[in-house]
């Protein structure tokens, strides 16, 4: 009987300790995630000019009706989805390729790992400013156009042509983000037993077949995780268009988050911006759940 009581006491202590450990995270999540989300949903049913919080007017779902008729919203959604669809496989493939390269043991491999990871350590704002110069349409200023003209080709208006602006941002973003995913893939690669490769090698499997039948299945969990986080990051694209193109030209790089910012802060339509944010939240949640379902069903 006494033993049972002692166990119960320990269990209770463990439970209290668990609550103590969890409390800071829960409090922070509530303060900085749940409460803002509730506010966002609340403000989205008001006409609310950012400078006049005292003149808020309840308008029901008017903001949502306006939103679904707003061609800028659909354009921003299209741009966001396009960016996500292209950047996720491109960046993940690049990261996996880099991880395979630097997983080999050779002299100076640590230098390459550091080099590939270093864009992650630099602020996206700084990188965006630097790449704006690299992409500059004037061959006397922009490195890429300088190379193109030296090869006898015409310069390209990378950031000022609606056909190339988003692709230019995608390329830069993949370059910047691949280093982080590379490190995750690297950790995944180290978890694959070496003897599987040795056995395959003895059986005469080529390097490509080893990659196809050992590496890829071995990285399945890592790939799912990397795709999921890259997709969520991609949906939140803001800094690059804000710094490099201001959403232009012709709205070709205006993303949902950029549109929320411009409506809420530049134009002061805070209620309307909140309705975009609420819809954006639902879209991200749905995409994440769909992604999870797809990856689970493949197991």
């Amino acid at each position: 009987m006494a033993k049972t009581k002692k166990l119960t006491g320990r269990k209770r202590d463990e439970r209290i300790a668990a609550y103590i450990f969890v409390t800071p995270a829960v409090v922070l999540l509530i303060a900085f995630l749940v409460v803002p989300m509730i506010y966002t949903a609340y403000f989205s049913v008001f006409r609310y000019q950012i400078m006049r919080p005292d003149a808020m007017k309840f308008i029901g779902i008017e903001n949502y009706i306006e939103l679904f008729q707003d061609k800028n919203f659909w354009q921003a959604l299209k741009n966001t989805v396009y960016f996500t669809i292209i950047v996720v496989p491109f960046q993940c493939a690049l990261a996996l390729g880099l991880a395979l390269l630097v997983s080999k043991k050779f002299r100076g491999v640590a230098i390459f790992r550091t080099m590939y990871f270093s864009p992650q350590l630099t602020s996206m704002v700084v990188i965006s400013v630097l790449w704006s110069v690299l992409y500059n349409a004037n061959p006397n200023t922009g490195l890429f156009n300088s190379i193109l003209t030296s090869l006898g080709l015409d310069p390209i208006s990378f950031l000022n042509d609606e056909n190339t602006a988003m692709n230019s941002i995608i390329f830069m973003s993949a370059w910047q983000g691949a280093g982080y995913q590379m490190m995750i893939f690297l950790a995944g690669l180290q978890g694959i037993p070496r003897d599987q490769y040795e056995a395959a090698s003895v059986d005469g499997a080529t390097k490509f077949k080893q990659f196809l039948y050992i590496t890829l299945p071995g990285l399945k969990g890592t790939i799912k995780y990397v795709i999921m986080i890259t997709m969520i990051q991609a949906m939140k694209l803001f800094t690059q268009p804000y710094i490099m193109t201001q959403g232009g030209p012709k709205n070709s790089t205006k993303t949902l988050v950029y549109y929320i910012y411009s409506e809420g802060f530049q134009r002061g339509n805070f209620g309307y911006a909140c309705s975009i944010a609420a819809v954006f939240f639902v879209i991200v949640v749905c995409m994440s759940m769909a992604m999870k379902k797809v990856t689970t069903s493949t197991e």
Partner: protein, 437 residues
């Protein structure tokens, strides 16, 4: 759910009030905080010196300043907007001229009429008073004005066969025309140079620097009473004016993506540049340069130039408006205006400031030209509470138009019309939603 939200909001308000309502002892000094954009070392030093001087002389009103990054877009305005939503505005904040109406109409700033009499204001240039007045009351007061003029690289223009002596001899009654501007730009465009620099940034710089072109063509962006944009920013005159600018981009006479300090770095032959460029060029240019009056429309010959600069306003959150008013009276005295204007290399708003020794450079030469423009051709930007919305919509439209011209090498008037229609619709939508009676 509604009750829970109300309780959460009430709790937030209660906590905020509890945190901010600190009992003030009778002999505690009033503390005032100022926000103004981060500036050059000379201006930062000026602020430090002046605030120390005030604090020493006025132990009962202690002032501190926070420099806020302005960036080249709307970063500073975003900071103000965020502070409004969090009820966290400083006592005094600097605001760009055309935004004065926006803040005043929304009750973010308070009138300053009690602190600046008509006699005081008669010493300020008309454009500065007009820009800072909304609905008959003065809402901001600034020490400096600004202007934009036509700069040219004399060495390079001479090489290209442009009559530099003719440019040097122009007067306020006989400035160069748009077609002369375009002619020079065409003549001076080579593989290494572009003929002109006409874009300043992706923010307020665009409507600020280009407005005189529209005015000279006969139509402002917005009606004089600040209520209507339809038939103004999207008028035939506006389309023609915009097409002229886009044509310079399409023909490669001006860069759509200019490098920083393009003119100073010898990458362009001429530029429409701010009055502050005179100080930069005097100090750093390694070529001979000149400056003349803002170009005029070929048909109307109407001379107009930009003006307006940042000015100080007292926020609705200021708990001691009288103390803030007293501080602004002192901050805007003749000596302070003159030294500030000299440090920031901009023309002063106070006429008496030009008699001070530090402003002696404005008596002749390039700076006198700026003063002359300010006195004779300056027109403030539209005074309307929807200016912030107009400004960002116009900047976005112009960026689209210029990008289109650069990528296609052609000017599409229908496209320009459609973009300017969007600007007008955006303005109208905002004005009618929030301000129309």
């Amino acid at each position: 759910m509604k009750k829970a939200i109300s309780m959460a909001m009430a709790l937030t308000v209660a906590l905020t009030t509890a945190a901010t309502t600190v009992p003030v002892m009778a002999d505690d000094p009033v503390e005032l905080t100022i926000w103004s954009p981060t500036d050059t070392a000379a201006i930062e030093a000026w602020w430090e010196e002046k605030i120390a001087e005030w604090n020493e002389a006025n132990p009962d009103i202690q002032v501190s300043r926070e420099a806020i990054d302005r960036s080249d877009s709307y970063a500073y305005d975003n900071k103000i907007a965020t502070a409004v939503t969090s009820n966290d505005l400083p006592d005094i904040f600097y605001v760009d001229g055309p935004q004065v109406s926006y803040y005043a109409a929304n009750g973010i700033t308070v009138p300053l009429d009690d602190y600046f009499s008509e006699e005081d204001l008669s010493d300020f240039v008309d454009s500065a008073v007009a820009q800072n007045t909304y609905d008959g009351s003065l809402y901001a007061i600034g020490a400096t004005e600004s202007s934009v003029a036509f700069y040219y690289n004399k060495d390079y223009l001479t090489e290209c066969g442009v009559d530099v002596a003719d440019l040097d001899s122009r007067t306020v009654d006989n400035p160069i025309t748009w077609s002369e501007f375009a002619e020079i730009a065409e003549k001076c465009t080579t593989d290494d140079y572009v003929g002109a620099h006409i874009i300043m940034d992706h923010g307020e710089g665009l409507p600020y620097a280009l407005e005189p072109m529209y005015l000279s063509a006969g139509k402002d962006y917005i009606s004089e009473d600040g209520t209507t944009s339809d038939g103004y920013v999207n008028s035939e005159e506006a389309v023609t004016t915009t097409a002229y600018l886009a044509d310079m981009i399409a023909k490669g006479w001006a860069n759509v993506e200019p490098i920083t300090d393009e003119f100073l770095n010898g990458a362009c032959a001429t530029m429409l540049g701010g009055s502050w460029e005179i100080a930069t060029l005097t100090e750093n240019a390694d070529f001979e340069w000149g400056v003349t009056y803002y170009p005029v429309n070929d048909d109307t010959k109407e001379a107009v130039s930009p003006c307006g600069d940042w000015a100080a306003a007292i926020s609705k959150n200021c708990e001691n408006v009288d103390a803030a008013g007293q501080f602004l009276q002192w901050l805007m005295n003749t000596e302070n205006v003159a030294t500030y204007a000299a440090a920031i290399a901009k023309p002063a708003t106070r006429i008496s400031a030009y008699d001070e020794e530090v402003m002696a450079d404005y008596q002749e030469g390039n700076l006198a030209l700026i003063k002359e423009q300010l006195e004779n051709t300056a027109v403030p930007r539209p005074r309307t509470p929807s200016y912030a919305v107009f400004s960002s919509a116009y900047a976005e439209a112009m960026t689209n138009i210029f990008s289109d011209a650069a990528s296609t090498g052609e000017v599409d008037n229908d496209y320009i019309q459609s973009e300017l229609d969007v600007v007008s619709d955006t303005f109208t939508d905002d004005y009618e939603t929030y301000y129309a009676e």
